[in-house]
């Protein structure tokens, strides 16, 4: 398939929506598990760790795909401030998507926990064991997660603004381009 310069390549679109679903799930699981003493707590924690590592791996793949297939240019008439916001928020998203699983992994390492991704698969520690290191990384994990959630909301609102208000092709460059008339045009 010849790629349309106004579209993200298909593999980028698949990764984007997959990661969006995984990250939103991850944020809800994370905030939910630390606020629960019910049986949910145990299976949410068990789910959180392998999902986090899966996100880390997919983000790396997503970055390679993006590097090899530069995204379509933003509309020429987009105000400079919005272009700047788009640029900064995307950098922030990638930074947080990479940092959160790594900080989580480091935090469990510092706490002296075995980093189990299931009943038998164990990752090696990546940070020396210590109470102070654990506390700092554990707080960092929470604050970065809240920042990621806010960035996620801003990204979603901006995408809808492009799709519903400006109708400038930015949103549809990441979808399958079913437009308002219900016809697929790719």
């Amino acid at each position: 398939m010849r790629s349309d310069p106004k579209m993200f390549v298909p593999v980028a679109r698949v990764l984007h929506w997959l990661l969006a679903a995984m990250i939103l799930t991850m944020l809800l699981v994370g905030i939910g598990m630390v606020a629960s003493v019910s049986a949910r707590h145990d299976w949410l924690v068990g789910f959180h760790k392998p999902l986090g590592i899966a996100i880390l791996l997919l983000v790396v793949v997503r970055m390679v795909v993006r590097w090899r297939n530069p995204p379509p240019a933003l509309p020429a008439d987009l105000p400079v401030l919005q272009k700047l916001a788009a640029f900064a928020s995307h950098w922030l998203l990638y930074l947080l998507m990479l940092a959160l699983p790594l900080v989580g992994w480091a935090m469990l390492s510092a706490g002296g926990y075995p980093i189990m991704l299931g009943t038998s698969l164990r990752l090696p520690p990546i940070f020396p064991v210590g109470a102070v290191g654990f506390a700092v990384l554990r707080h960092l994990h929470t604050w970065l997660a809240l920042l990621l959630f806010v960035t996620f909301l801003a990204h979603m609102a901006a995408a809808l603004y492009h799709g519903l208000i400006r109708r400038d092709g930015v949103l549809s460059s990441m979808t399958w381009r079913r437009d308002a008339r219900g016809t697929a045009d790719d």
Partner: protein
């Protein structure tokens, strides 16, 4: 190309579009807030549970919020291989596994007198050669008072000392026990229980049930306990007025030689309750001797190897899993919250109480 700036929504469509955008953002934020418990202040969270522990005992920066007073120990576990028929965990293969542990008394006050409670606890971390760990926190009574996190929270609330007397309100305590008949077996035990003069002479029960899985995936519900080799006659009677006799007794005994416990694993029959730590299993259940715990050293808890360990009972190796006992997840969640509080205090994290030196002993 339909996606040119000229196709932007006409003004009369924009209000609807903005509402849709705002609604999507608010709904997502609302789901997040609900998951985080902000919309349900009545929900029992680890935060509320640990706050209640602090309300009952006071806040002692740097210390565990429960079982605050204790000592570190270390040694090893010699497995005889008998439990391997039921669990594929490496710790049960014939051989030796290093152990870090901790003895403690319940309660959030690290300066409480050893004689103030009849219960002692033993927490252990077995580190297998494959890097997986088995952590367990056991207590010196055969049943827990209650079976659910909600009942445990209610018990804490009912036994919170009042400002006027510094003691729990007897009426509230009585009302709690009346409303919780499941506390019967524990209360029967507590009637005759005496604070022991030694950590080394106690048996320690897992209380919660767990599930062993053998190499073929066959499951078996179990409980375990550590049964001491030492007897009370080996020790020295605590000196009158000594509030910290347990640590000195342990030091004296270990100076004579290592202290040993047999790990006894009780196998549930089908139908035995695995979801209620307030109910003991019948005495005739098959029990296997899995090996010997050998403890040879003790260190103070502020510098010893156990200091930075969270003895979360759900840190388990392949071959051991949690059961449907609802207390397990609650313990895991609350211990994590307590661990974050005390490590944050070690780190002087902003907003945490400052660590103070030990107060002078009251005469």
């Amino acid at each position: 190309m339909r996606d040119s700036p000229t196709t932007s929504a006409p003004p009369h469509h924009r209000i609807g579009a903005w509402l849709l955008i705002g609604g999507t953002v608010l709904t997502t934020a609302g789901v997040f807030a609900y998951a985080g418990g902000w919309l349900t202040p009545g929900r029992l969270t680890p935060e509320r549970l640990v706050n209640q522990l602090q309300d009952n005992a006071g806040t002692f920066a740097g210390f565990r919020r429960n079982h605050a007073k204790g000592v570190c120990v270390s040694g090893w576990f010699d497995s005889n291989g008998a439990a391997q028929a039921y669990s594929a965990a490496q710790v049960f293969a014939r051989g030796r596994t290093p152990v870090e542990g901790r003895f403690a008394i319940p309660g959030g006050n690290p300066y409480a007198a050893d004689s103030s409670v009849p219960i002692r606890s033993m927490a252990l971390r077995f580190t297998q050669a494959n890097g997986q760990q088995w952590r367990t926190g056991m207590n010196s009574m055969p049943v827990f008072a209650v079976g659910t996190p909600g009942a445990f929270f209610a018990q804490l609330q009912a036994t919170q000392p009042t400002a006027a007397t510094g003691k729990p309100d007897p009426a509230k305590v009585a009302a709690f026990f009346a409303a919780h008949p499941e506390t019967g077996p524990f209360r029967a035990w507590a009637k005759t229980a005496k604070p022991s003069a030694s950590y080394a002479t106690e048996s320690y029960w897992s209380l919660n049930a767990f599930v062993f899985t053998d190499a073929h995936g066959k499951r078996q519900a179990v409980r375990w306990r550590m049964v001491p080799e030492a007897t009370a006659a080996d020790g020295v009677a605590p000196k009158a007025g000594d509030a910290d006799y347990l640590a000195s007794d342990l030091g004296l005994r270990l100076a004579q030689g290592p202290q040993r416990w047999k790990l006894q694993i009780t196998l549930a029959n089908p139908g035995d309750p695995t979801n209620d730590a307030s109910k003991a299993w019948p005495d005739d259940r098959r029990t296997i001797d899995a090996g010997t715990l050998v403890l040879e050293r003790t260190q103070p808890q502020d510098s010893g190897g156990c200091r930075d360990i969270n003895f979360d009972p759900l840190v388990l190796p392949d071959g051991i899993a949690g059961s449907d006992d609802p207390l397990l997840a609650a313990r895991s969640a609350a211990y994590a919250n307590s661990y974050l509080r005390r490590t944050s205090e070690e780190a002087h994290w902003p907003g945490t109480p400052a660590i103070r030196p030990q107060p002078e002993h009251q005469p």
